[in-house]
């Protein structure tokens, strides 16, 4: 498989959130605004890039019996780095994401790439795969965060275009229930159109 194909797989066909349904916890929890979605997406992308490359480098020397704990230690290390970095340089974002930054450790998308791809492939494809997966994860979080912020708060990326005097926000959209509703509708729509496309191609 060519590098560009590996990259594109993560963006759409094997997108972690909308196709593989991995990493649901951060997806549902932090997408109450576009900026939070973007920050979580970028932090996760950083972690998956670093951990996939690292796992790929040491793939031949890690005994199979301890590979999962080893990957977890590596992922946890990079997550903690990202956490320190956000706390030192972007305290506001760090505060908004709260406990969800340390919880990137248990994002199945990252563990999944280490186990399913990086542990079996050389470093360059592993890096490209992680980049595709990370960016694929990020765009879904940004779209979801934007939809919820627009409907639930009348703003996008903290820019208020519909103040409360002209638009009554659907508060439910920024509550947990809104996360399930919008993610469910988004995945449903995407599946509906891909099925229609597949049927038309037959």
């Amino acid at each position: 498989m060519s590098l560009s194909k590996i990259f594109k797989t993560g963006l759409w066909n094997n997108n972690a959130v909308i196709k593989l349904l991995l990493g649901m916890c951060p997806t549902l929890a932090v997408t109450n605004s576009a900026i939070n979605g973007l920050a979580m997406g970028l932090a996760s992308t950083f972690v998956v890039l670093c951990s996939s490359s690292f796992v790929s480098v040491i793939r031949r020397i890690v005994p199979g019996g301890v590979r999962i704990p080893t990957y977890i230690v590596i992922i946890a290390g990079f997550v903690t780095l990202a956490d320190f970095f956000l706390r030192a340089f972007f305290p506001a974002i760090s505060k908004a994401l709260g406990p969800y930054v340390p919880l990137i450790v248990v994002n199945c998308m990252i563990m999944g790439r280490a186990e399913a791809f990086a542990s079996k492939n050389p470093i360059l494809p592993s890096f490209v795969d992680a980049a595709g997966m990370g960016i694929g994860f990020t765009w879904v979080l940004v779209v979801l965060g934007s939809v919820r912020e627009v409907l639930g708060n009348g703003s996008i990326f903290n820019f208020v275009f519909a103040p409360e005097s002209v638009y009554t926000p659907w508060i439910i959209m920024i509550l947990p229930a809104g996360a399930f509703i919008s993610l469910g509708l988004m995945i449903g729509l995407i599946n509906y159109f891909s099925m229609r496309k597949a049927r038309a191609a037959q």
Partner: protein, 207 residues
């Protein structure tokens, strides 16, 4: 080398390397993290004490009912001429979804509040988290604290000690009031004990 030895060595080495990298990185960013925390505290103190341009910190350990000790910090705000303009302190209390933490300003007469700012909260977005909005927090400016702060619902407060609770978020509103009432008592006790300005520790960050 047998397999279990290889497994032990792999995990140990990985943990040591990762731990080492983290230690070095943390050491290099720690001053910045601490700086951010202090900046935030400083901003909050000046936000709740109008006219303050510097502050001293009074630290005092008080005994809790459980036998443990708790350190209460009171920030004595001063204006440019060194006159005391009020006292700020942090009040914490359980809210609807988690701990609500606030910076509270007390006027120098110790009869009313100078202001309030929420530092940390995880209340429900759109309902309980309205406690951070000025519309709610401005009510605490000049609010009388004796005998204690209360609240009314859906109408303008008539008593000088009352605020109007947020519609649909009474629990969060009451949590704020309870936390402030409790901490005000503690702080008034300490201030009465210390006398004005006695045993004040000069804080290096208070510029």
């Amino acid at each position: 080398m047998n397999l279990s030895a290889r497994m032990i060595i792999t995990l140990t080495v990985t943990a040591l390397v990762v731990g080492g990298i983290l230690t070095v990185f943390y050491k290099s960013v720690e001053p910045r993290i601490e700086h951010n925390r202090l900046e935030e505290e400083k901003k909050a103190i000046f936000a709740v004490l109008d006219g303050a341009s510097a502050y001293d910190t009074i630290s005092k350990d008080i005994a809790l009912a459980s036998g443990k000790k708790r350190t209460v910090r009171i920030f004595k705000g001063k204006d440019a001429n060194g006159n005391i303009v009020g006292y700020a302190f942090v009040a914490n209390g359980p809210g609807f979804a988690g701990i609500i933490s606030m910076m509270v300003g007390l006027n120098v007469d110790k009869e009313s509040l100078a202001g309030m700012k929420v530092l940390d909260q995880v209340e429900t977005p759109g309902l309980g988290n309205k406690i951070v909005e000025n519309k709610f927090t401005d009510q605490f400016k000049g609010l009388k604290i004796k005998p204690k702060i209360g609240y009314v619902k859906l109408k303008k407060p008539e008593q000088p000690t009352d605020i109007q609770a947020i519609t649909g978020a009474t629990i969060s509103s009451v949590a704020v009031i309870n936390a402030i009432n409790n901490e005000v008592n503690v702080v008034l006790g300490i201030l009465a004990e210390e006398g004005d300005g006695a045993a004040a520790v000069k804080a290096p960050e208070g510029k």
